[in-house]
């Protein structure tokens, strides 16, 4: 065989082998699913370990876990949607969800649920899954149930003030009485605060909304059932605002006085509570996990109860109105929708979801069959808190309405407007927002 022909043969075989290798690599190359979420800090490695399990069970996929800061998520998602370069799976926040869902930025999941025969009622609590619908479509799977704020209290300070630590307040009056008794104040100087009922009330802080919390327990509604008109400009709305103002004035001298010395955000208030300078604190059920890490010595001293109702209103019941639910959704232009769906089922509805909750000892799981161990003294209150959530249809402009309600309650608590004037102005503005965005 001539030398050149032999050389040609060797080269051809090598090329064929390389071609085969490339083809095989392509055929078996794992598909990369990009997952954007806000699980930062210690939760990032915890999530990674869950994702590793997904990859193990689904060798055809790898997951790129992108942790976003909650401060910058909005602009990241906006840029992604505008450019079409979206992630495959996206973590929504409660106020964020109706906005994107209303614009059709996410892929509805109904066909996939039907195709795979998922029985959502058996998997999720109804509050979480109902809040994940927009219009008549299922847009996401909830990653947690929408949670109402609870009231955590220091049993030692209750005892010291002559209150029964095993019988926490059930009505607004009892709550105010407890707050007055546990506040130690010399004029404007507060050395111990009973309770700041308006957590994250200042505009620009957080997605919590104290007015909605208290209005829920006064028999009021924020919007009409079709979410097209205002309902908070009602006698219940006015009562709620007046009570919030009166409570703050009677306990701390003024809301501003309490804020000046103890702050009004989660981060501001928690250290004071841990140090025994606040008798009660409005916070979520998730405070249990946070306290277990930051101030474990407190766990034996604290109790928790669901926020009380207005005992003077015979129609008031224990409930919390949730507008939007936090969840995981597949963007409409996701490059790997099938992989994203597989991951979504694993991380939100499957074993990965429960594992992530048990790992964090979080009690706000939306899964029916996921048991998270918490100390027995908290179980009843957590269960009661979970049961009182009622999902409501949220308009796409809910974020704007939330901010307007924050401004309203802040104006009243700072004494800038009367409750009547503030309520009227806010109702007018929210009507305008709804008219513009519907």
């Amino acid at each position: 065989m001539p030398k050149s022909r032999k050389k040609f043969g060797v080269l051809s075989a090598a090329a064929a082998a390389m071609g085969l290798a490339v083809t095989m690599t392509q055929a078996y190359a794992a598909e990369k699913i990009v997952f954007w979420n806000n699980w930062d800090g210690s939760r990032a490695p915890q999530l990674r370990s869950v994702l590793d399990q997904f990859e193990k069970q689904n060798p055809g996929y790898t997951v790129e876990n992108v942790t976003l800061s909650s401060d910058t998520t909005a602009q990241r998602m906006l840029t992604a949607v505008a450019s079409g370069d979206v992630p495959d799976l996206y973590m929504t926040q409660a106020n964020d969800f109706p906005k994107w869902a209303g614009l059709g930025a996410f892929r509805p999941l109904d066909d996939l649920v039907a195709r795979d025969g998922l029985k959502l009622d058996e998997i999720f609590f109804s509050g979480g899954i109902e809040g994940s619908r927009y219009g008549d479509k299922l847009i996401q799977f909830p990653f947690k149930v929408p949670t109402s704020l609870m009231i955590w209290y220091n049993k030692d300070l209750f005892k010291k003030a002559g209150l029964d630590p095993d019988n926490p307040p059930k009505t607004w009056k009892e709550l105010e009485d407890a707050a007055i008794k546990t506040t130690v104040r010399d004029g404007a100087v507060i050395s111990q605060l009973g309770l700041n009922i308006c957590l994250n009330c200042a505009t620009g802080s957080g997605s919590e909304n104290a007015f909605i919390e208290w209005l829920s327990r006064n028999g009021g509604e924020v919007l009409t059932a079709d979410a097209k008109d205002v309902a908070f400009g009602s006698p219940e709305g006015l009562d709620t605002l007046k009570w919030m103002q009166g409570f703050s004035n009677r306990t701390a001298g003024s809301w501003q006085n309490a804020v000046r010395q103890f702050g009004s955000t989660f981060k501001d208030q928690r250290p004071s509570f841990y140090m025994g300078k606040m008798a009660m604190i409005m916070d979520g059920p998730f405070l249990y996990n946070i306290m277990a890490k930051d101030a474990p010595q407190m766990l034996d001293k604290v109790g928790v109860f669901v926020a009380p109702i207005n005992g003077d209103n015979k129609d008031a019941t224990q409930r919390y109105l949730a507008y939007g639910t936090p969840g995981y959704a597949i963007p409409a232009k996701a490059k790997h929708p099938e992989g994203a769906w597989k991951l979504l089922k694993f991380i939100a509805a499957g074993e990965g979801a429960c594992q992530f909750f048990t790992m964090q000892q979080r009690v706000d799981t939306p899964l029916r069959n996921c048991k998270v161990d918490v100390p027995p003294q908290f179980v009843a209150a957590f269960k009661a808190n979970g049961d009182l959530v009622q999902s409501r249809q949220a308009p796409s402009s809910f974020q704007q309405i939330h901010v307007r309600l924050q401004q309203m309650q802040e104006a009243v608590l700072l004494g800038k407007e009367t409750p009547e004037a503030a309520l009227k102005a806010a109702a007018t503005d929210v009507k305008a927002i709804l008219a513009r965005t519907n």
Partner: protein, 318 residues
């Protein structure tokens, strides 16, 4: 035969080709072409990243645009809503003007005083210069987080110190409507280093002879400062004034991190509100309108200052 024709071509080739030049181009044109070639990357960058967005902003300001759907023509709706219906917009503008009106003169005054203090040849002065300049190189985000901690009412440095040392109950700076804006301005003054260094450079440019002449004329220290230092520094003040106003109207990062515009919208500066409308509410058309009006405001103020500069800026030295 082929060699002969090639030879003929070479020998009859025009001189410009033999000299490696293009036919019919003068030296000036050639130089210009090379110039354009070299600045082409900048021009392309400008067209793509500056002019393009500016034109897009102009167009989007006349539309309702939510980023997901195509823009819908709105004519002057956004302008009319902004000027006649949106009370928050006017509040925002008022806060921005207040912020600028306090911040700009304060930064110029403090920057000038600090520059004068460090404009000596004393031993170890470079350490003071470094210490005063250092905050300016701290990234704004990091500085804001530091401020967040310093100003915390419970575990920050300032309030517990005031309370434990002097028995003073200080305000919750960032959550108090009367102090939040001042707290943000104080961060800005802390980062005064760049302004200070520009003043220092200006001070060092002033000829010594002017002070000697003033001394011979019997001028007091105050008179020397007033008639020599300040007079000769007016171009520097002019520069810092314009830059300060532009920066003030574009303030965002510190507000975003420290207060998000609260409490009671008392720190809702222009760009923060623009961000809220555009990014949080997805009203990108409205945000574009706000951006255009901001450009107009800054441009008007700059032109106003430039027009009046003849009356107070001393260019004798130049």
């Amino acid at each position: 035969m082929a060699e002969i024709s090639l030879l003929r071509k070479v020998t009859h080739a025009p001189r410009h080709r033999a000299e490696g030049r293009s036919p019919g181009l003068s030296n000036t044109t050639r130089e210009a072409l090379w110039g354009y070639f070299f600045i082409a990357p900048w021009i392309i960058g400008f067209l793509l990243f500056s002019l393009g967005p500016i034109l897009a902003t102009m167009y989007l300001s006349l539309t309702h645009y939510d980023v997901v759907s195509a823009p819908r023509w709105a004519g002057l709706d956004n302008f009319s809503r902004m000027f006649f219906e949106d009370k928050e917009y006017w509040k925002t503008l008022a806060v921005t003007v207040e912020y600028s009106a306090i911040r700009v003169p304060l930064c110029i005054a403090v920057g000038l005083v600090l520059a004068m203090l460090i404009n000596t040849q004393a031993r170890g002065i470079s350490i003071f210069r470094l210490a005063l300049y250092l905050p300016a190189i701290v990234p704004l985000v990091a500085a804001s987080i530091l401020w967040l901690w310093l100003l915390n009412p419970q575990y920050g440095f300032i309030n517990p110190t005031l309370r434990d040392t002097f028995g003073v109950i200080a305000p919750n700076w960032l959550r108090d409507e009367n102090f939040a804006l001042l707290a943000i301005i104080s961060l800005s003054v802390w980062q005064i280093g760049h302004t200070m260094m520009i003043f220092l450079a200006g001070l060092q440019e002033i000829p010594r002879e002017l002070y000697e002449a003033a001394e011979l004329d019997g001028a007091s220290a105050f008179q020397k400062t007033r008639f020599v230092t300040l007079s000769m520094l007016t171009p520097t003040i002019y520069f810092n004034l314009i830059i300060g106003i532009i920066n003030s109207f574009q303030a965002f990062a510190a507000v975003f991190i420290l207060t998000r515009g609260g409490p009671a919208n008392e720190t809702m500066v222009y760009i923060m509100y623009l961000y809220r409308r555009g990014i949080e509410y997805l009203e990108m058309g409205y945000a574009s309108t706000m951006a255009l009006v901001l450009v107009a405001i800054i441009l008007s103020l700059t032109i106003l200052i430039m027009k009046t500069s003849d009356k107070w800026v001393n260019y004798d030295r130049v």
